[in-house]
């Protein structure tokens, strides 16, 4: 067999090694014929190598233009392909020598190789088959789960469609909220009235004489009466307004109008707190927080 490779001695040495297992006179003959054939082929190889070396010129890709080593490679490829095609056309099929022993041994070896290859293939294919079956099972389960989900969703869709339209629900909610607001406002009014009444009854406006007495002036000032002291009710109202309306500045500044006794009362009952930096400012304790 001539191949495009320069030498081929790899087939027949393999066959020789199989023979050494049963030495026999006939086999000895076959061995010697095979060996002779081997040596002849090897001599051919050496001759070809010599010829090759003589007409060989090593060319590196750098010899051709630097930008196009591909050109040189492709050219070389073309040459070699032509050569291989020619060799393939002209080569005759390789026949084993007519010796029966050789033929039998060769066939035996081939058969064993084929058997082992087929065994491997078989194990591979059974493994693949099992994998595929397992994946089919998984997919089936997945499909069932998805179907169940799909059915449930459809049921839910239908139920939603059967319900009353959503617009009425909004109106109903709005109505509820309005009634709640009204009720809350009413309660607020009643509570405020009660508180005002209570505070007005038990914490009346101090008389001018009392107010002027508590202030430490020796001579009562004329302008003192221009501002009347506030009843506790008004102080409380102002505090509450400030607390609710402007939560970031709930402090109320104390005036002469505020009777200090009331302020002290509120402070002691922990209803109001003083500003940490400024004693003249007080705020309502945020009970709703």
């Amino acid at each position: 067999m001539t191949s495009s490779r320069e030498g081929d001695g790899t087939d027949q040495p393999g066959e020789v090694t199989e023979f050494t297992e049963n030495p026999d006179s006939e086999t000895a003959e076959s061995i010697s014929t095979l060996k002779a054939a081997c040596e002849k082929t090897w001599a051919d190889v050496k001759q070809t190598q010599e010829q090759l070396r003589q007409c060989q010129q090593p060319q590196s890709t750098a010899h051709f233009s630097e930008q196009q080593p591909l050109l040189a490679i492709l050219r070389e490829k073309e040459r070699r392909l032509r050569a291989e095609i020619q060799v393939a056309k002209e080569s005759r099929a390789h026949t084993l020598p007519n010796d029966t022993e050789v033929v039998a041994a060769a066939l035996n070896g081939e058969l064993q190789k084929k058997v082992s290859q087929l065994r491997e293939t078989k194990s591979l294919i059974t493994a693949q088959l099992q994998e595929l079956q397992a994946s089919i099972e998984k997919e089936k389960q997945f499909e069932q789960q998805l179907k169940a989900v799909h059915d449930k969703l459809q049921e839910k869709c239908q139920a939603l469609e059967a319900q009353e339209p959503a617009e009425d629900a909004l109106e109903a909610v709005a109505q509820e909220l309005e009634t709640k607001i009204n009720a809350a406002q009413k309660t607020e009014q009643t509570v405020m009235k009660k508180m005002a009444a209570f505070v007005g009854k038990h914490f009346p406006v101090p008389e001018q004489a009392q107010a002027s007495r508590s202030s430490k002036e020796l001579r009562p000032r004329r302008h003192q009466t221009s501002q009347e002291t506030l009843p506790l009710k008004d102080i409380l109202l102002e505090l509450m307004t400030k607390c609710v309306e402007s939560p970031n500045d709930p402090y109320m500044a104390l005036d002469e109008r505020h009777w200090p006794a009331y302020v002290e009362l509120l402070l002691r009952c922990n209803i109001v707190l003083q500003h940490p930096d400024d004693d003249r400012r007080i705020k309502l304790v945020p009970f709703h927080l």
Binding site: G7, T10, P58, S60, P69, I73
Partner: protein
């Protein structure tokens, strides 16, 4: 010319029976020895010799003792610019006959973040020399074994152990995308 002596040629020496020889070229630290050990671990019917070189041209001291190089494997890493330069230089010192299916380019470090070069550059280099391009990571064991297996099959074909299959046959079945 002086460069003639330095270029590697495939047909200088007679091939030895049941032997194959593989040359691995790459800069330092790119993973040549790890890869060679992985290739050697695969059991084969013939005796495989692997030689490593950090750059071509090969030193001339052992030129006579060297067997025929069946296959050349150029390794470069995308994170190391020097390895790319080494490979580019070595490529021009190899005989044309090696590029007909007896050489390949292995590129490592494709997934790393510190890439010094573009993928386009690498493919351009491989295309300009018509080299089959193999990507792999020498550090991960699984990829290293796969890489070793591929290189081994290519070496076997180049050494002629597969009957009727010549390296050029394999090369011509390779898909080449023209840009």
């Amino acid at each position: 010319m002086a460069s003639d002596d330095r270029t590697l040629t495939p047909y200088n020496v007679l091939p030895n029976r049941q032997e194959a020889s593989l040359l691995v070229v790459g800069a330092e630290g790119v993973g040549k020895h790890d890869l060679s050990l992985a290739v050697l671990k695969i059991p084969v019917q013939f005796s495989l010799q692997i030689r490593t070189a950090s750059s071509l041209p090969l030193p001339t001291e052992n030129a006579d003792l060297r067997p025929r190089i069946d296959f050349i494997c150029f390794i470069m890493s995308m994170t190391d610019r020097e390895s790319i330069q080494v490979v580019e230089k070595s490529l021009s010192l190899v005989d044309v006959k090696y590029f007909l299916g007896r050489a390949c380019l292995v590129v490592t470090g494709v997934h790393s973040h510190k890439k010094m070069t573009d993928l386009d550059q690498v493919t351009a280099l491989a295309d300009s020399f018509n080299l089959p391009l193999v990507f792999g990571e020498v550090k991960s064991e699984k990829e290293r074994d796969q890489l070793a297996r591929r290189i081994l099959t290519m070496t076997e074909v180049a050494a002629g152990f597969k009957n009727h299959v010549s390296p050029l046959l394999v090369e011509s079945t390779r898909l080449v995308t023209t840009s």
